[in-house]
């Protein structure tokens, strides 16, 4: 799958999840580098810690290569039923889920072994802005 298609499917699935909560605002930010990319999704829905933890668990599940490539290909194609974050979790390197002053921010980190999330600053900035 081309990188563009891959990113589109991830955005589709994560946006599906966020839109299920009917937010007034949703911002999707993408920062690409050679070895990886950072996708941040910010919405205006405050969530309980329990739900945040559940999102974290789904997005940071153990590597399952047999699931990621095959079943992960359904990400972004779900038009019936609820969004499934585990489809994303199998395909990303890691995810941070934080509560902002008036909503939630989900950071997805993708990349190869040389990928260094430290080179991205958007996470800190958006936290401050929020």
């Amino acid at each position: 799958m081309k990188r563009k298609d891959f990113v589109l499917h991830l955005i589709g699935e994560i946006a599906h999840y966020v839109l299920d909560a009917d937010p007034m605002r949703m911002v999707i930010s993408l920062h690409q580098e050679k070895d990886g990319l950072h996708l941040a999704v910010i919405d205006s829905v405050p969530r309980e810690e329990e739900e945040l933890e559940s999102i974290r668990r789904s997005l940071n599940n153990a590597p399952r290569p047999e699931m990621a490539e095959y079943y992960g290909s359904m990400a972004g194609y779900d038009s019936l039923g609820s969004a499934r974050l585990n489809l994303i979790g199998w395909q990303v390197k890691g995810a941070d889920v934080t509560s902002t002053s008036n909503g939630t921010k989900i950071d997805l980190w993708l990349g190869g072994d040389r990928f260094d999330p430290e080179s991205f600053s958007i996470s800190d900035r958006t936290n401050k802005e929020a």
Partner: protein, 440 residues
């Protein structure tokens, strides 16, 4: 290896070795020697494998059990060698391989497809483990290898190489089709590779029979199963329940109860979502329930029926639970009774068992939709086998995939339009957007 994974491997290896040993020493034929069983296993490799060829009758129950254990064992070794976690999907694949090893899959017709999928992985620049599920389930096209190699009358020097190449060729194209099929039904049919292999089998049959003519169906169905076959499911089911309860009985039972509220849409790995012991209990309970159903309707516990039950046992770690399979079986039974089929008839009992591929529809949308799915499934599956001349072993997967696609598309269309209509009534932005479109 994680101790939990090690225990699960040990359990599956013990089950397969026990079955193979019993198959070797109790073949259930007049000539009950180990040598006779080995000869029978060798003959199974070169006999036709298209639907429905019950190996328990074509050769002997013992030979069929050893063949099935061999096929499942190869699957288990593949999982281990590739460092893939033994969990819901891989356990489902191993049990499915075992089940179909009783009526169609053999090591000889299964391995070329695995090689084909591994070539596809290489072409796509992926690791084989990323395609391992497609490879394991994709062995449903094994009968194509047997058909070309031993049935259509090619010169002997040519037939086996061409058959093996045919298996490799379908293996190469399997992944590409599997991804597309998955999106058609959006994970509401558990046997996605059934839809994929059925679709490919349509083309394979058209090519093989391109010069016209068809081979006779020649169904082989064991209507006098031995006690060994009758008691196999309860024995394995009780072993699974025992293994689950042994680890922590209370937690396993609590987990089992929570599994019964999971809709089961692909991919629902119960071993990951709940726990391994709870999934083992669910597997055992499902085995006993399905075995009870077969006994109650008076169907034969032969190779294909046992194949159906063992496939359900495997998928009870990956999407099936008592509450989501019941509506589908009710739907199949209702259709059978309405159209004058006996519940124990071969096509009907297989549809009731394998039709549970549609369980996620019941789990997600309720009893009525599940029953409608089962009803439609029976009607379509009784016809679909002829479309591909029985080359695709997962004929119910093909019919189930088509049924799920029909229902998912209809439900999706209905829900989307109902939502839009409601929004229009409420005067929301959706209505204004429609209005704007109209003006343009």
């Amino acid at each position: 290896m994680d101790p939990k994974d090690r225990r699960l491997y040990l359990l599956l290896v013990c089950i397969l070795v026990a079955i193979a040993t019993v198959g070797m020493i109790a073949p259930g034929t007049e000539d009950a020697s180990i040598g006779a069983t080995l000869s029978a296993i060798a003959r199974l490799q070169i006999r036709p494998a298209r639907l429905v060829n019950d190996f328990t009758r074509a050769e002997s129950p013992g030979a069929a059990l050893v063949n099935a254990a061999l096929v499942a064992g190869i699957g288990l070794v593949l999982v281990r060698l590739n460092g893939v976690r033994l969990a819901g999907p891989t356990v489902a694949a191993v049990f499915t391989l075992f089940g179909f090893g009783l009526f169609g899959k053999t090591p000889l017709n299964f391995v070329p497809i695995i090689i084909g999928v591994s070539i596809a992985a290489r072409i796509a620049g992926k690791q084989f483990k990323e395609y391992i599920l497609i490879a394991m389930f994709g062995s449903a096209l094994g009968p194509l290898v047997s058909l070309i190699a031993f049935e259509i009358g090619l010169p002997p020097a040519l037939s086996v190489p061409v058959g093996l190449l045919g298996g490799v060729a379908v293996g190469v194209v399997l992944p590409a089709i599997a991804f597309v099929m998955l999106r058609l039904h959006q994970g509401y049919s558990l046997y996605n590779i059934g839809l994929t292999t059925g679709f490919l089998a349509l083309f394979a049959a058209a090519i093989v029979f391109g010069r016209g003519g068809q081979l006779p169906g020649g169904a082989v169905w064991n209507s006098e199963p031995t006690l060994l076959l009758i008691l196999l499911v309860p024995a394995v089911s009780l072993a699974l329940i025992g293994a689950g309860l042994l680890q922590n009985a209370q937690a396993a039972l609590r987990g089992f109860v929570s599994i019964t509220s999971i809709p089961g849409r692909l991919p629902s790995d119960f071993m990951d979502m709940v726990s391994v012991p709870a999934a083992l209990v669910n597997m055992g309970v499902m085995g006993l329930l399905m075995w009870g159903y077969v006994i109650v309707v008076g169907a034969d516990l032969n190779g294909p029926v046992l194949g159906g039950i063992f496939t359900i046992v495997g998928f009870a770690a990956f999407g099936k639970q008592p509450r989501n399979v019941l509506p589908v079986i009710v739907g199949v039974a209702a259709a059978a009774l309405l159209f004058g089929h006996e519940l124990s008839a071969p096509g009907v009992i297989l549809a009731a068992l394998f039709g549970t591929t549609l369980a996620p529809l019941a789990g997600e949308f309720g009893f009525a939709i599940g029953a409608v799915a089962g009803f439609l499934h029976l009607l379509i599956v009784l016809r679909s086998g002829a479309w591909h001349a029985g080359i695709g072993l997962y004929n119910n997967g093909l019919a189930g995939g088509l049924t799920a696609t029909l229902l998912v598309a209809t439900i999706e269309w209905y829900r989307a339009n109902r939502q839009e209509r409601r929004a229009a009534r409420a005067g929301s932005y959706a209505a204004s957007a429609d209005g704007a479109d109209d003006e343009e």
